[in-house]
Symmetry: D2
Subunit: 495 residues, 4 copies
């Protein structure tokens, strides 16, 4: 899966406290998180007295011009955001960080993930006279904080975090401190790092710490928040009602291969899952292993290493983004696929191929790639997916929230193989995935959130429950009937 017809990534947050080049370093940090969101970006800065921000649509380089970046100089504290729209439309008013100026304080806030009770909270707040200015669910937390009667900003933040549900991380900046917060399941990741000069870094992924030459300090765990100010760093819990359930999709697809989540390097996990896949689902008589660039190359090299087959570059991805295609005819549309990805005829011709991909969501892309390889002369194609069947929608920050989009909700691997024109399709098992990641927490799924493969939602369903139940397919129902569910609809443990 290599493009936006598959899964979409879901925002990255960044923060830095106490560095003279705060805005510039935030720009660099966000650049390393660009894979998490390409629809908009923003940076808010503070010098301890004033607080202001800049934002824009598109990639970071488009959203934050040199002039904007220049205007943010000479501030020591900053937060930043790259956005992919999981909820809310695409207007500039939804680009974060949001900057608020109140009569008594100023705050900037940004957010990764999805709040699954945002609609009901928003309706209740509007009923009380609150006015929302974006369609983003991020705005909800600010209203909760400002409506709170708690005696301090920190207490109001804790109170508000307890009211929201879903998978999320937040970064907030006031004149006095930088705050980070993680949902009660740690579905979405957040890490803290430290630079040599003493500046602290907050980021969705460790790659943003590495790019600045910082040292990793710690993960923020389920239900925790962190306060960073001139006194240093302090981590607290806003709730003890927690169950660790880190999104497996971060390992499988979202995160950069050089990032490390909960102590596990993403490339190493992917390579191991490729090896595990080779053990679980070998392909007889294959001549070579090919990965779908870029996210499946680690898994493919693992599969090749385990199976003893050569690892070849049978598909080439154009490294330049083609954003503005007008494709009026069917012929041009077909060619549109080849514009992004090319089969290397001289490599694949007359060969039996193991094609390793990280996931199949809708099946459209897989079908195109298989056809492209066959057009280039491949004799047979055995598709091997380095994750389990993507059978259930996700509501915690991934852009796949309706059942009808998911090919595995309705089709078996054999049916999918026929549908995409492959010679066979096989998936990694849920246990194989869990073993490959190797978290080893003493909670369901060893501390992973694997809801898309099991229909087991650790943070519950809330506003999404009615739709979820109405849309269940026969195949989904059958799966749920045959597998234990650890969590109920509010995300409480059933154990």
């Amino acid at each position: 899966m290599y493009d936006i017809s598959g899964l979409n990534e879901e925002c990255g947050v960044f923060g830095i406290w106490n560095h003279n080049e705060a805005a510039q370093l935030t720009y660099m940090g966000l650049h390393s998180l660009q894979h998490r969101g390409q629809e908009g970006a923003g940076i808010a800065v503070s010098n301890g007295e004033t607080l202001k921000g800049e934002r824009g649509l598109g990639l970071l380089t488009e959203a934050i011009s040199d002039i904007k970046l220049e205007s943010l100089k000479s501030h020591q504290h900053a937060i930043g955001h790259v956005r992919y729209a999981t909820s809310g439309n695409k207007g500039i008013e939804n680009i974060q960080p949001f900057v608020y100026h109140f009569y008594d304080m100023s705050v900037a806030v940004c957010h990764n993930g999805n709040l699954i009770n945002a609609q009901s909270l928003r309706k209740a707040l509007e009923h009380q006279g609150s006015i929302f200015h974006s369609s983003s669910d991020t705005e909800v937390i600010m209203h909760l904080i400002r409506r709170s009667k708690a005696p301090s900003f920190e207490e109001a933040l804790k109170e508000s975090l307890r009211k929201i549900k879903g998978g999320f991380t937040f970064a907030l900046l006031t004149k006095d401190a930088l705050y980070g917060a993680v949902d009660p399941n740690a579905i979405r990741p957040l890490v803290v790092g430290k630079m040599k000069n003493g500046a602290y870094i907050l980021a969705s992924e460790t790659c943003a710490i590495d790019v600045l030459g910082g040292e990793f300090v710690r993960d923020i765990h389920a239900g925790e928040y962190v306060v960073i100010n001139d006194d240093g760093i302090r981590v607290e819990s806003y709730t003890h009602h927690t169950t660790t359930a880190i999104s497996a999709m971060e390992y499988i697809y979202f995160a950069r291969p050089d990032s490390t989540i909960a102590g596990k390097n993403v490339h190493a996990v992917r390579k191991q899952s490729g090896k595990q896949l080779a053990i679980e689902s070998p392909a007889q008589d294959a001549d070579m292993v090919i990965g779908v660039p870029n996210s499946s190359l680690s898994a493919a090299s693992g599969y090749a290493e385990e199976s003893g087959l050569p690892y070849e570059m049978g598909l080439v991805k154009n490294q330049y983004v083609a954003r503005t295609f007008i494709q009026p005819t069917q012929e041009l549309r077909e060619q549109g696929v080849r514009v992004k990805l090319s089969a290397v005829k001289d490599i694949v011709q007359d060969k039996n191929i193991v094609l390793v991909d990280d996931s199949i969501v809708r099946g459209t892309t897989s079908r195109r790639i298989v056809r492209m390889l066959k057009d280039a002369g491949a004799k047979s194609i055995h598709v091997r997916i380095a994750s389990p069947e993507f059978m259930f929608p996700s509501f915690y920050g991934i852009d796949v929230s309706t059942t009808s989009e998911l090919i595995s909700a309705n089709k078996s691997p054999e049916e999918i193989s026929e549908h995409i024109g492959a010679d066979s399709v096989a998936y990694l098992s849920v246990d194989g995935l869990i073993d490959s990641i190797g978290l080893d927490e003493d909670v369901p799924y060893s501390g992973l959130c694997v809801e898309s493969f099991t229909g087991d939602y650790p943070a519950g369903l809330y506003d999404y429950e009615p739709n979820f139940i109405d849309q269940l397919s026969e195949r989904q129902k059958e799966y749920l009937a045959n597998h234990k569910q650890y969590f109920d609809k509010e995300g409480n443990l059933n154990v």
Copy 2:
């Protein structure tokens, strides 16, 4: 070598005759050639009656907006260009194709490569009253054609091609025909393809044919030109004074891995050169092989396969381009490197590493990568270069034309190893390179242009001769004294 501090690519040309979506297909074709030039792009179209063009600065998506592309619709013939400035400055007036309207005809022209007698031709033409409007050497051929007394455009073109020297391909479009031409050594590549509907394609690389779903027809050989019109395709020679000498750098670095030049697939050549390198220069006690993304990954996988070492992703390239960095402090400048490329700490820590790269030009990038890997904990780093020492400047379309830029002009592999902080540095031999490519022509270097490794210039030196001789280093002089030179300063065979 992964970025513009190394070698720069040198333009791509494209043409199509007789397709209703000519401009759109040219856009797609140019997109697949984007790696050959990112400073500007243009498209010129004809419907057999009128001829016009659009062009702009930057990447194709910036240079040719939807509105511009729309304005080029409803024309059946087109040529296009992506530009990297080998000569001429960066203004819009240098972006090709150049479109000329004369009282008796209209012509569009674009060009890949470098003319080594352009300055002397230009001075002579200006002396006769010609006026040049760009600083591009491409304009010279148009003046030669218009000054010619030959009875037809084709004859004038042939006459003009015989006057220019260097490594080049041209695409020209008139209302009546599409022309392509290749220099007398075929230093720069040009291929013809055909679409199912009968449309003909002209392109710098086969990947542009593949992206449109076309069939490869043939390479245009040394000293040939091709005329494509409604009667079909006709290939002729404008000179018989030819010696095939295809740029080895096209295989090593420039071309896309899925392209095939003179019957040899680029990825396969690179993988083979990696294998050959493993045989010539093994690395004792190494734990893994790492390639510098993206151009060295094929060679690295070949090295790994031959040596039996695991192939790992120890370096991750940020797939998003960071174009607008302001880097005021030394600290930020150091971090700027990590913005483009990251070492994966969990992979490389405490490991003995074989680092495969395609070339070392100035040494700056290699030094940064080695330091980055050591900072990430690598125990030892053995640099293996999948090409010979880059010892001599290139004048045939590569942006390396002064001796002082070339680290190998002055330093031995051992000195370079020390300079870049590696534990050892070794290069592929010239013979190893020639064998890996495997052209097998019965001419010097089996039909390759390896001037950067041998100082042997198949097209001669012309305007560059005085500077070349003045700047020769001791190491270069010693090399030249000890190796046979097949070509003289006019590019004639010394055999």
Copy 3:
């Protein structure tokens, strides 16, 4: 007074109900109101089901591109706004109309004028948990409406209008109706017109009705609001605590000469005030009358006609705006004045001149013009101002809110004459101004707001009171001691 170093205009509002070209006509209407604000513009439209808007910075042609305008097509109802920032900063978030989407309705709102109790209302609302997203005072009314417990939108609007103080007009658009409202003194103007096809128009000035070929229907009077929907038009009062006090500055400077306010044509008023000025303050031995273009030409022609002197074009205004001047040296700064305005040497040389201007605010511009005319050879210059001394700040929507900016707060006409280098300076009397306008209402100042000349504030001072009192100059204090004040600090009549 001809440029932004003097008074700044203060927004224009427009609305249309039930026309298939609503957005396009709003664009035209706003274009005719462009003189009221050049910093930003926006249009919001509704088709009875959805409501959406577009906005941007700069002049209308910059703010609303063809693409934006196109996206607003196929909607029958619209409001629009041109903005000059009287309060709030210049970011895009302050550009109106503001569009709000609530769970139960959608509203667009825009505003002309200034709310003088906005800061205290805002602080109180924030204290209750409201979140503001702009620094514009316009947002206050939306919060008041949404906080209201009134049973309908219209009732909530009425209740909210009673809470805000100052000089203002509002235009609001819901899916069901178009609303307009005017402050309890009718300081800022709002008119209703009707098109031949039955569509209703709402506008700050009648020129916007004329430009669309519509018929004038009526002025909206003090304390009134108008509801326009598919049932037609209905005008109501939200308060009966009203005293008509139309801003005299609308006649003197803001409005277009072809507009008519409260039955009085602006050009005719200006010409009459010029005649009155000639009677009150003739200039002996003058050779000609010159007006400062463009706003003072009507008054100048009136002065000429009354005095029998020839009316000449001694100053020429460059009709093109020079927006992006970099003026590093003092010499260039001096020339900067001439870039906007030129003296015609051949006309003014050796002449005794009556220079008619509409007002003197800071004196800077007048001094430059006088010097320019003297440099061009004028023998003597008698400055005649077609309004009274601008002695007090304005808080009702004009960008002059601090005493220290006002030259007349500290200097007599004689002192000003010396300061600007004129031979004499004379002003129209307050009674002469009132007579020239000729409103004839049986309330103070015959129904005009002349606070800048008398310090008598019909809508009171509210949040501005402390500053106003602290900053009073000796000259202001003396004036207030010698003249009756009709209004107290809440704007109640003292009679």
Copy 4:
């Protein structure tokens, strides 16, 4: 006549030698000449060693950004241009100054006017192998200069000026000098001024000297050129075959009212022609005089003064340009007129009006204005034109070159009056115009070029002759038969 549906202005040139702020002053000078061309602008600068330029499409503020202007700093010599396209299309390649870099020198060149033998010269040059890069006729002179065998640049320039025909001025900048040149009839104006610091100014109009605070030095006369360098200023003649024939349209319409041409102030000439018109064609029983803004206001005030009628502002021009109108329906198109110009109902209602305009070209605009005034309630409208009947096309730099566009080529004043819906139409006589301008040279038409009124072309017809003769209307033929022609088709005197 107030907009682009009438006559179009035809470029302005500017030059400055020896001022540290040369680029900035050129920007200011061009701004004062903006009325002469709004389609593009450019500035070229030299510091005596290098020569470079910037240019762009649109108004000066759009064409020359702050960044571009900044890049031109620190050069002491400059020329600049504002362009209206009289010939050549609208692409950026036609925007001047053109900057040429030759092996032996660099030159920048710009041009006002039209060369009537450009096509034949261009064809001859192309036949000899010259390549043109724009469709502008300005490029011709550069080719002539470079083809010349003359021993110096100045001699080559003189030789080239003798070969071109038409109405023109040129400004050229080399590293050594600033050159200006005027056609052999002085049809287009060019003046020299001097600043206090000794810098010299070259400009199309004196207003550009005034705006910089410079002193007028002299007009460049027919057949003269000027050389300005560090030795001072030197005026020479390149031909003695001259007859002064200054374009009367410069006085009537093109030039700014504060400019002075050949000693006559433009505003004063216009006012005088209005007075003369009142004497020649009084309007019985009229109530007031109204001028069409802006170019006819001087003439209208003259008519009013002579006739004793009041001068009123019955038409108001919107000072903001509405450039991007989409006008899909007929209704919107009608309203489009009112967007630019409004009738003031309260002024014109029930009044008998004298409407003074500077010219009637196609009649379209006049018809719209008359209808607008009648719609606003005017009782009768007597149109008085402050120039003679515009009966013949112009080829010397005005955008009216086909007979069929000219309403007076086919209709009498009475027919035009009926066509535009007026109550009467009358024109100034040719003698009345000549007297009002008052040049008094002892040559035909007292030294004016009045070809549009008389069909008498002082510079001849050349490439335009065949078309001119083919298109002659009956009314034109009749006029020519009854009036003496002083010039033949080569522009030689018939006397």
